[in-house]
């Protein structure tokens, strides 16, 4: 009896996938066409796409590791900013970029621990916890930052030998600075850990149904703490990316809302690493594209409208193809043992 229904059962979700697929194919064709007609620009735009997406992907990974275990993290912005600042100072005073990256990671992790303390131990509302971190980071970094500190430069791209010479692909994927490579690896690593390992299974269980996990002897609090801390570290990496790889110096409030965009990217990507990566690339592409359109200067459209491109595109794709995102059931709820 059910079989009869199946064809008609093809719901919005299904053909949204199909449209999404078509959309993807069109993008691909567009890229190839662009590459044939104007290789230099196309490569430039795509390279910029990856670059713009990097802090967003890292931020989104931070968010989803936490939320998969049931803890909302809207403090990504603050974690990034504080980490960017400390990484910058470490770079200034040690001059060792590796140490600086570690400092950034550690800073993010510490703020992660603070968030976990607030939302797991104090059972504070998780949205408040994240907001506290955002304001605190903004205040402290602006208060303690002073100019005149100069770094010993920033991380430079490391071409991966022959790979870097592959046309189109090479310059985009295989000629990047370290944190960008790390990001690409992290996307795959997080995906693997989340869906193929014991830790991932427990994390998802805790995020969906903590008492079920508890009743089989899993320590819900421990899992949440560790996830949120590691997530914080990854957000810290995003901060380090800003000061050590993208810019090479720090400025007050330099995250400029990227933490929040990362949040959007995470939900957009349906709480999956590759989804988030895709969403971030889409956003980065739109940003690079709007710059390119201004470069070209041909269009008569006022640049503010070109500037809207990334945000409009996000909304359209979200409303049109992605639709409702299933949020981990236990997210936002402190776990009460008794």
């Amino acid at each position: 009896m059910t079989t009869a229904a199946v064809p008609k059962a093809r719901s919005r979700g299904d053909y949204a996938k199909i449209i999404g697929l078509i959309f993807g194919v069109l993008v691909l064709i567009g890229i190839i066409y662009g590459y044939i007609t104007n290789p230099v620009t196309t490569t430039a735009v795509l390279a910029s796409t990856l670059r713009q997406s990097t802090p967003l992907v890292l931020g989104a990974l931070c968010g989803l590791i936490g939320e998969r275990s049931g803890v909302i993290n809207i403090g990504i912005e603050g974690q990034m900013l504080m980490a960017a600042f400390i990484a910058f100072l470490a770079n200034v005073y040690t001059g060792n970029l590796f140490v600086a990256v570690l400092a950034g990671f550690a800073t993010g992790a510490v703020l992660g621990a603070f968030l976990a303390f607030m939302s797991v131990t104090l059972k504070m509302d998780q949205i408040i916890g994240g907001t506290v971190i955002n304001i605190l980071a903004l205040g402290l970094t602006s208060f303690f930052y002073q100019t005149g500190l100069t770094t010993q430069g920033k991380m430079q791209p490391i071409p991966l030998g022959p790979l870097a010479d592959i046309p189109l692909i090479g310059p985009i994927f295989f000629d990047n600075p370290p944190i960008t490579y790390t990001t690409l690896i992290l996307v795959m690593l997080v995906h693997y850990v989340l869906f193929y390992t014991r830790w991932g299974l427990r994390t998802r269980a805790v995020g969906e149904h903590p008492s079920a996990a508890d009743t089989v002897g899993i320590n819900v609090f421990k899992i949440r703490y560790i996830n949120v801390i590691i997530g914080g570290g990854i957000a810290g990496l995003a901060g380090a990316y800003l000061t050590l790889e993208a810019v090479g110096s720090f400025e007050r409030a330099m995250t400029n809302g990227r933490g929040f965009v990362a949040l959007a990217v995470m939900i957009f990507g349906k709480y999956t690493p590759f989804g988030a990566w895709g969403a971030a690339l889409l956003f980065g592409f739109a940003t690079a594209l709007q710059t390119q359109l201004q470069f070209a200067g041909q269009l008569e459209i006022p640049h503010q409208f070109i500037g809207m491109l990334p945000y409009l595109l996000t909304i359209i794709v979200l409303a049109g193809f992605v639709g409702r995102t299933r949020v981990p059931s236990a997210v936002g709820k402190p776990y009460e043992k008794e």
Binding site: V45, S48, T147, V247, G248, T287
Partner: protein
Amino acid sequence: GGAAEQAPAEEEAPAEEAAAEEEAPAEEAAEEAAAEEEAPAEEASADEGDCSSEEVFCVGLVTDVGEIDDKSFNQSAWEGVQIASEAGAQVDYIETGDAKDYTANIELFAQNGYDVIVTVGFALGEATAQAAATYPDIDFIGVDQFQGETIPNLTGLLFPEDQAGFMAGALAAQLSESGTIAAVLGTDLVPPVVAFKEGYEAGALYMNPDINLISTYHPGGLDVAFTDPEWGASTAKQAIDQGADVVFGAGGKTGNGALIEVAGNEGVFCIGVDSDQWETVPEAHSCLVSSAMKLITPGVGELIGMSNAGEFPGGNFIGDVGLAPFHDFDSEVSDEIKSSLDEINAGLMDGTIETGYNPG
């Protein structure tokens, strides 16, 4: 006031010591103290003096939204004020956190009997004009504030940024081998930025009519347009990737981001803006061939001097603009380029060369 009690506290934390310390918060803190207080440090000496009295000459500065140490116009103006403090004036500044506080911040100085008040940025124009009307005995200096009608105790310090931009453009066009040059800009909500851009493009075309110009404004609002170095950097990279070999960074910290990015790319030049950024952005030394300067510091210093001497002009006062020294690149910039720049400079002065920029 508070600064006096504080003076000792600062002495205990000189910057060098602090730099030596390792343990993070303490060190930041000490550094902060040292840096924060360079103003009151001087102030402390003259602080006993009460500004409303005849003997004591007090100069206050109100920044535009942002910090005093912005490596940009706030900082340049403040340095101008400090010239006066070397001449014995008592100086202090207030950083504006919220645009709606302009008036209140100006009032703070006015109420305390300051003799000269410097306000930085076109955005303070309205508030400054009102204050000037309310306090006829105080001289006001409005950086980047065009004066429609003349108020005797208010002088707008203006700069023909388009001319500085024109020179920068001419330089860029001649340095470029690829025939593509770029500009990474703040936002067109700020008139001087527009002037720099228009001038830059005109100057480049003047030198090489078929030069390929790629320039872009930051897509965000005023609150981010000048404080987004990452956008500046990735935009510069995007320009370099498609052949630009000279990049003009004109947009506060956003522009600085672009300069630092260029520095990492072999054989690409960068040009700074406002002040000689050789001083403010050392990270960019490897590419910074020059800067399109508007000499705020001397301009402010000069006007304060005039006020002190009782010869305050009022109306609009046009400050100097020009290119910063080439520093390490002096050898790389050929003599014919230099001479052509001199000609252009002369032409702009006597008006035989027009930048073509005229604000509405």
